[in-house]
């Protein structure tokens, strides 16, 4: 099974990259964009077959390494 982990800065933590991308979109006349957040995606290939176990493992990975929970949130999707 695969785990797709999306990590992005928490709401309320200024995302300078998102702001710069938003600004660039504006200059390209894409005017309908309200907000841009830039994050990163980490894709893990797991040998675990139990979804609950996989979720628990990946959550631990996020808490310990994949995200810095002082400034970042993470979302996990198992596929």
């Amino acid at each position: 099974m695969k785990a797709i982990v999306n990590v992005s800065l928490k709401a309320g933590v200024l995302d300078s990259q998102g702001k710069a991308v938003h600004h660039a979109l504006d200059s390209l006349h894409f005017n309908g964009v309200e907000d841009v957040r830039v994050g990163k995606q980490i894709i893990l290939k797991l040998d675990e077959t139990d979804k609950d176990k996989a979720m628990a493992d990946v959550t631990k990975m996020c808490e310990e390494l994949l995200a810095n929970t002082v400034i970042e949130d993470y979302e996990i999707e198992l596929v």
Binding site: L9, V13, L14, S16, Q17, A20, L65, N68, V70, I71
Partner: protein, 225 residues
């Protein structure tokens, strides 16, 4: 004689400058490879030098934090040992949760490399005791991820315990903000005042011929009782 041990990870690049700076001040030094598992018992000060440990992959300092030596660093710090993290070393210390907060990408998204003035905010600690509050020093900065973040509660705690060491300023001490840091913070310490972290590089300000020798006054604090 004061003994300074300096950590070296793959990608560290300030370990020899740091060694030179401390030897100039009369210290005995030793460079410790990240795979070592203990800190020499005669160590008076442990320095995590600047650079780009593990290529800054994932986040600056995030991978170095799990190197074998870091368990010994955590134990050393928790026992009251003095630890100084400069630039990438500061990032490693926040990732290891030995210092509060985190360092984000500079607000301008630019890598900043220049001399910058810093204002001393709290000198009631071993690191800055040779300086006075409101003194201004001129020290190089060289970082991409130096934008210090801490939440409002954390900031209150830093202020209440005099943990803010240095803020970015101009030559007269007026506060400036080159990278977006909360409250223009350039350096902090832990509550117990034995773990110190700063983005600027005092080890690069040891000789007036190279632009500034203000780093001497900073690093000297560790030598005088």
């Amino acid at each position: 004689m004061t003994k300074v041990s300096i950590l070296q990870f793959p990608g560290t690049n300030c370990e020899y400058d740091t060694q030179y700076a401390f030897e100039r001040l009369g210290a005995k030094t030793e460079i410790l490879w990240h795979k070592d598992e203990s800190i020499p018992s005669d160590t008076d000060l442990l320095v995590i030098a600047g650079g780009f440990s593990y290529g800054d992959y994932l986040r600056s300092g995030a991978i170095a934090r799990f190197s074998p030596i870091m368990k010994a660093v955590e134990a050393y710090a928790k026992n009251g040992g003095k630890v100084l993290g400069i630039c990438n070393g500061f990032q490693v210390l926040t990732e290891a949760r030995l210092l509060p907060g985190a360092l984000k990408r500079n607000e301008s998204l630019h890598f900043l490399s220049k001399h910058h003035h810093l204002k001393v905010v709290n000198n009631d600690n071993i690191f800055l005791k040779e300086l006075s509050n409101n003194d201004v020093v001129n020290i190089p900065i060289a970082h991409h991820d130096g934008n210090y973040f801490i939440d409002a509660d954390g900031l209150k705690e830093l202020e209440a315990n005099n943990q803010i060491l240095l803020k970015y300023s101009d030559a007269k001490g007026n506060i400036l903000n080159p990278n977006g840091s909360v409250e223009s913070i350039a350096g902090i310490c832990n509550k117990e005042k034995n773990v110190f972290g700063l983005m600027p590089h005092p080890e690069r300000a040891m000789e007036s011929i190279l632009g500034s020798e203000d780093g001497i006054k900073m690093l000297q604090g560790f030598f005088k009782a």
